[in-house]
Amino acid sequence: MNTTITDVAARDIIIERIMQRQRRARMTTALAYGFGLILVAWSIQVTVIDDTDWARMGSFGQVMETAGQFIGLDFALFADLLHPTIETLMIACLGTLLGVIMCVPAAWFGAMNITPFKPVTYPLARAMMTLSRSIHEIVWALFFVSAVGLGAMAGIFAIAVRSVGFIAKMSAEAIENIDHGPVDAIRATGANEFQVMLYAILPQILPQVLGVVIFEWEINIRRSAILGLVGAGGLGLVFFRQMNTFNFHGVMSVIVAILFLILIGEMISHWARKAVI
């Protein structure tokens, strides 16, 4: 254990280097936080302070008074809410079902390992998924209302197209992660592509995909509750009407109905996902 001067010098250099690295890391963190804070300040300045019509809003008390108008329920409305609530639920169910049917080709083309012709079908399917997920359901509903007319059908199509992306993406990922043993085994018996899919791939991904579908169905209930805002039927239409006639208690009644519907949906989906997995 005879420490020479060069050892000590080397150790000092190493310590110095570690400290330097730490200092640099701390600087980076501080810079990142500073940048984030500036971004927040700038965003608040632009969006909240400059863009708000403070004079129209009035004092805090006045805002609270306006908000207070919403507190309370219009009990007379609940009888009329039954029909739209069932309608909303049905739009969600049918939309999810149609979405599942539409996602079969998308998932097939979008899974790297079974896509029929990689350079064309894979990017095509991926583009379809992104398209479906990036456009909001309101915009889809607007488009379908202009294409097929007012009513529940536009809502069903909007929900279906909107949910294709997520279901197809998750299914494609499930397909990409399958065990290839069964696929090879079924193919070795001389099965064609369709049979391979039916007997080797589908049984492996079914529980996962069903879980995703149930999850999406739950989300679709909350989506279908607002499609009526642009004329696609369901609770949204009642909401819009109550809002435009300034019946704020009626608005709250509609929200209670939506909450009730979603509570039921959440319970069913909780139970169904347990049954599937």
Binding site: L39, V40, W42, S43, I44, V46, T47, V48, D51, T52, D53, R56, M57, V63, T66, A67, F70, I86, E87, M90, I91, C93, L94, L97, T130, L131, R133, S134, I135, H136, I138, V139, L142, S146, A147, V148, G149, G151, A152, M153, I156, Y199, P203, R222, R223, A225, I226, L229, G233, F239, M243, F248, V251, I255, I258, L259, I262, L263, E266
Partner: protein
């Protein structure tokens, strides 16, 4: 296995667990009845479905097709895009700040009081999740007037609901060892949260935050539809003026922006997960 083979010599392979059972056919029948009933209940004109696709194609080709790209290549429009980004950023930030106490109180292993605080936190998270961001936007516009503040608030509530559940689940999945150790030293609730829980969920929380921002941006593009500022307001204006080619251009810009944000968020999440 052997005993089963002997007592059951006619074991045959079948694809389904319960083949030919009444339950299976009953389920299919129930589905068919439900389908028929709901088509009838919703008054869906079945005869129009077949002509619909042609009409949809016509609508797309004739009215939406050449997207008016010049319209969105504009400084004013770019300003709106930046505003949308800011709205999403602030909404996600405020939502995440609200999420931290809600996730803490709403996780059944860390909540300070299971009888009192837990159900309240759960109920708040659930109602934020249940009510669509559009409904929040409309109500806040009604209360606060047009502008971006109602948009930010609507996105805040939306993000609270979205991230609150994920965060609570993340806290419920932690290792309770450090918590017990901290508790044994006599640490109070905040200290346990700060030194035992937070280090375990830090990475997951960062991932959730990035994901929330991505989702918030997606919602922010249309929150303006009912008067809450950003690109949605632009979209609404052109929809009302039936400027379908401009609408198409705006939709193209939304798709491109969402695709970019998705790629960025996936990259950032991957990096964060690697740091674990």
């Amino acid at each position: 296995m052997n005993v089963a083979m002997q007592t059951n010599p006619k074991l045959t392979w079948s694809r389904f667990k319960y083949p030919d059972s009444l339950i299976r056919y009953g389920a299919w029948l129930g589905l068919a009845v439900f389908l028929g009933y709901s088509v009838d209940y919703l008054n869906i004109p079945l005869d129009r479905i077949f002509g619909m696709f042609g009409r949809m194609g016509d609508t797309l080709a004739n009215r939406y097709y050449p997207p008016d790209i010049d319209y969105i290549m504009d400084v004013e429009y770019f300003g709106y895009v930046v505003e949308t980004l800011q709205m999403a950023y602030l909404g996600a930030l405020f939502g995440l700040i609200l999420t931290i106490p809600l996730g803490w109180f709403g996780s059944h292993n860390m909540t300070p009081s299971k009888i009192f605080v837990y159900p309240i936190a759960r109920a708040i998270t659930m109602s934020c999740r249940a009510v669509h961001e559009m409904i929040f936007a409309i109500i806040f516009v009604a209360i606060l007037g047009y502008g971006m503040l109602p948009g930010v608030l609507a996105l805040t509530f939306f993000c609270t609901g979205f991230a609150g559940k994920l965060f609570a689940e993340e806290i419920e999945a932690i290792d309770m060892g450090p918590v017990e150790a901290m508790r044994a030293t006599g640490a109070n609730l905040f200290q346990i949260m700060l030194f035992a829980v937070f280090p375990q969920v830090r990475v997951a929380l960062t991932g959730i935050a990035i994901y929330t921002w991505d989702v918030a941006f997606r919602a922010a593009t249309v929150v303006g539809f009912f008067g809450a500022g950003g690109m949605g307001w632009y979209l609404k204006r052109n929809v009302l003026q039936i400027e379908t080619e401009r609408v198409a251009a705006i939709l193209v810009s939304i798709i491109v922006l969402v695709a970019i944000s998705e790629v960025v968020s996936a990259w950032a999440r991957n990096r964060v997960m690697k740091m674990k």
